[in-house]
Symmetry: C2
Subunit: 191 residues, 2 copies
């Protein structure tokens, strides 16, 4: 059943906040109801349970609109912008994602629902980035999906394991020491 949009928004906002603050496993429908000033009955009229509510939030209501990284006129500049764009997206959203990690590994039905339905827009813009570089005649061989995974991997590691700032120096270092050398190698261009 649909709810009044303002009420639905309040419940989704409360879910997002609690997911960041206490994580999926610890968050209860009780808490969500209190935070959203809604009754539990109202929540259950719209969603069968906590899992369905979270899947709906992540798949349909997280702001996924992000401008694609701009054309800077060079492959190096575009790569720095791509890494930076992913860093910024992660800094906005890592609370919710971290709140889900333990559940993703420990709750197979939630994990499957999210992996199947959650949108995974390419925030790095790797495909248009490589297409622009090839048009300019720059050494930019390889598969955009591999470039995307590599950028995402380096940024996540820096945030979670390194615990170090996602700043411009990091983006430039990743580009100069990993991404550009790899693109050169993928293109068969001598270093």
């Amino acid at each position: 059943m649909r709810l009044d949009p303002a009420r639905e928004r309040a419940i989704l906002d409360a879910t997002r906040e609690l997911l960041s603050e206490v994580g999926f496993d610890r968050m209860s429908i009780d808490q969500i109801a209190r935070r959203a000033s809604a009754s539990k009955a109202t929540i259950y009229r719209r969603w069968p349970g906590k899992e369905a509510l979270v899947v709906d939030l992540v798949c349909n209501h997280l702001e996924n609109e992000t401008a694609p990284p701009p054309d800077t006129g060079s492959l190096r500049g575009d790569l720095v912008e791509a890494v930076t764009a992913f860093c910024e997206a992660l800094e906005r959203r890592h609370g919710v994602i971290l709140g889900l990690f333990p559940a993703l590994l420990g709750n197979p039905s939630l994990a499957a629902a999210l992996r199947e339905h959650a949108p995974r827009p390419d925030l790095t813009g790797s495909a248009p980035l490589l297409a622009r570089a090839r048009k300019r005649g720059e050494a930019a061989g390889g598969d955009p999906s591999r470039l995307r995974v590599l950028i995402e991997s380096l940024v996540w590691h820096r945030l979670l394991i390194g615990g170090r700032p996602l700043d411009r120096a990091f983006a430039e270092d990743a580009v100069d020491t990993v991404l550009l050398p790899l693109l050169r190698s993928w293109s068969g261009t001598p270093a």
Copy 2:
């Protein structure tokens, strides 16, 4: 104050289990005491609080003894073993690490204590691996610490974001599409 070693071990084991099951934020000294069949007073005689107990566990009592990946006789073989070794280490330990993630981002004093004191052995063996390859005359330029970060980044991403198996096919793909091409580029060798 030191405790009887068997009692200390039981408390540390209970902490490790609860960290994996419920995470740092949700774990209480009460729960640890119950699980370890110890009194809270006993725990407080040895550690000032939950944070100190977790820092002690992670820094001094997680099994960090892992055999270094073997010399397979070739750079490619050694890289596949290095990725596999890190996958195996992560599969044994990711429960504890995941239990700490939210606290690492939300609890600066715990994060600082862990980042300062936790051992970070290089489970990939990147330095001896590159040294062996150079001795064999293989194209293995570059900084071992960069190779290590790259392997760790790809494996963590696969586990957390991709949610896909850390199997041999993944290790070989990472080696053939990312690590070997990058080492070639770092060595200034044409692809």
